[in-house]
């Protein structure tokens, strides 16, 4: 199970201020903390970054790669900022992951960037016409994205399909639709398609003290269906312990009494 550390996000005030002030320290500290906590990728979410997005993404990539030897997940809707980040990206510790494309024509450019820069890419299974109703609709969208990826020359092994996780507190029935979609996505190709979720969406809007519990129980169910990766908070120790324990049950790691310490 791969964890994409979500803490470096424009949504967080501390990160946003550091971005604006071009102060690398708080961002580097968050990157290091997540990496040490077991994150496999570090997400770099600069948001739409309409002003000087290119500069910002470049600076973020360079600042973070100075301190962690981990691949990054570049997260912005601004394609030229994304490309600027890819141009300075050091792939010594793994290829970059683009977050994200979808079935919206405005996002097809991201596939082009993935092909051009040999990056992996997350594909959200939504189109222009609103949210998908169920797992079957998510699969139909996934198939369209896969066909489009082939046109752009992106190998299917480089795509992580994202079923789009919705809030349990407002759309309770969607929780199971997304889990079912993770299972069905894998059947769209052989070898199975990779899958990813933005985990914390599930607990958006619920009281703060319940979020960690909801996240980790939901992630366990997703892992059981074969989820490849989750954008999540690696600093949530209970979440990480649940991941490690589930990996033991699934036979992905070998049990030893100290497995939680590894």
């Amino acid at each position: 199970m791969l964890i994409i550390g979500e803490k470096i996000s424009v949504i967080a005030k501390k990160v946003r201020e550091a971005m604006n002030a071009r102060d690398p320290k708080p961002i580097q500290e968050l990157a290091e903390a997540q990496w040490k906590a077991g994150a496999h990728f570090i997400d770099v979410n600069i948001g739409p970054a309409e002003e000087k997005g290119e500069d910002l993404m470049k600076w973020m990539v360079e600042s973070i790669q100075k301190v962690v030897k981990a691949p990054l997940c570049l997260d912005t809707t601004n394609a030229s900022a994304l490309e600027a980040g890819l141009q300075v990206y050091n792939s010594e510790w793994g290829r970059a992951l683009i977050n994200s494309t979808s079935n919206d024509p405005e996002r097809f450019g991201m596939l082009e960037l993935a092909a051009k820069h040999n990056a992996e890419i997350i594909a959200l299974t939504i189109g222009k016409g609103g949210l998908p109703a169920d797992a079957e609709e998510r699969c139909a969208i996934a198939a369209e994205i896969m066909a489009r990826a082939a046109e752009y020359g992106v190998p299917l092994e480089d795509i992580y399909l994202d079923p789009l996780i919705l809030q349990v507190c407002t759309t309770q029935d969607q929780a199971m639709h997304s889990i079912k979609a993770v299972k069905m996505f894998q059947e769209l190709n052989d070898p199975p398609m990779k899958t990813v979720v933005g985990l914390s969406n599930i607990s958006n809007g619920v009281p703060k003290q319940m979020r960690s519990l909801i996240d980790r129980v939901y992630l366990t169910l997703l892992m059981y269906e074969g989820l490849t990766a989750a954008i999540a908070n690696p600093l949530d120790k209970e979440l990480m312990d649940a991941v490690k324990t589930t990996d033991v049950f699934l036979g992905n790691t070998l049990y030893a009494h100290s497995y939680l310490e590894m």
Partner: protein, 313 residues
């Protein structure tokens, strides 16, 4: 359509561990594929066989193997030199049997003296083994590690009950270390974790999942070794990537198939051939399971296994 050989590749890699010094130094491990499947990856080092030498006369060894060493086995220095010079041993494993409380209960200082004498006489790498007595080994191996300082030896075996002092000694005197657990892959992993949590570099570890002879549970040893290798390669489990030791000789040369005479067991065939074959077959099975380092006793069994390795690499 032409046939394409299906190939499997792994993310993990067995750690390479070197021991000994100067031009006689050896390395084991380093492969990123299953044993001898070099078409799937690279195998930089072949399995190494060390000749077993003891610090006292091997009175409990059967004649087949005892007679080979009868002129030298009263003296560990002469015995080790014989293995190195006459038998062309690439490595020596000196077992400090006499320190066992049930044998001669010799002191740690005595053992240290033996180590110094042997090291002064040979130039091939030395593996230093205790007597497999938890408490006594903790004393003996600490003294032995100090005596062997600077020679980059392999010392062992550190077990759950005594690993702390032995790890500290290996760390202080810069030796490689054998971590032994009893035929249980989860305990093998746990011991490796505990040892590395003491600050011991996993790249200096050798795992001994405990050996057994053909007919006496070899399939358990085989299975544990195979699963360790797969965990290290396929799951990329860093705690399961040290090279594996098979301490073959001591398990083979005590079972009835290597001891019972021709007259007692005529249907089993000639005793000498039987014993040698038993050791060779046990050892060969384990290198196929993933063992990187073997400790053996009979020169002809060792030659046979080395020839098999020549043909497989």
């Amino acid at each position: 359509m032409s046939f394409v050989v299906p190939k499997e590749s792994f993310n993990g890699k067995v750690l390479a561990v070197d021991f000994g010094k100067d031009e006689k130094a050896l390395a084991v491990g380093g492969e990123n594929c299953l044993p001898f499947l070099s078409f799937e990856g690279s195998i930089p080092n072949r399995p190494v066989i060390a000749y077993e030498v003891q610090d006292c006369a091997p009175d409990d060894w059967p004649d087949t193997v005892r007679n080979i060493y009868k002129d030298v086995s009263g003296d560990p220095v002469a015995w080790a030199k014989y293995c190195q010079d006459e038998l062309k041993a690439g490595a020596i494993a000196l077992r400090l049997v006499s320190t066992h409380p049930d044998r001669d209960d010799r002191s740690a200082e005595d053992a240290a003296g033996t180590i110094r004498d042997v090291l002064a006489a040979i130039n091939v790498p030395l593996i230093i083994l205790g007597s497999n007595h938890i408490e006594k080994d903790a004393l003996v191996l600490v003294a032995a590690a100090e005596a062997g300082g600077g020679y980059n030896c392999v010392i062992g075996k550190a077990q759950e009950g005594n690993y702390k002092t032995i790890v500290a000694a290996a760390l202080a005197h810069n030796h490689k270390l054998i971590a032994m657990s009893e035929l249980d892959i989860n305990l093998a992993k746990q011991l490796n974790i505990l040892i590395t949590q003491m600050g011991f570099d996993k790249e200096k570890l050798i795992t001994d999942p405990m050996c057994s002879a053909l007919g006496y549970g070899l399939e358990y040893t085989y299975s544990v070794m195979e699963r360790i290798r797969l965990a290290g390669l396929a799951q990329n489990d860093a705690t399961m990537q040290p090279p594996i030791l098979g301490d073959v000789g001591m398990y083979v040369w005590k079972i009835k198939e290597t001891v019972a005479s021709d007259t007692d067991m005529p249907e089993w065939g000639a005793l000498e051939e039987r014993g040698i074959t038993w050791e060779a077959v046990t050892a060969t099975s384990l290198i196929l399971a993933g063992a990187n380092l073997l400790i053996m006793r009979h020169p002809r069994a060792i030659q046979t296994v080395n020839k098999t390795i020549d043909e497989l690499v």
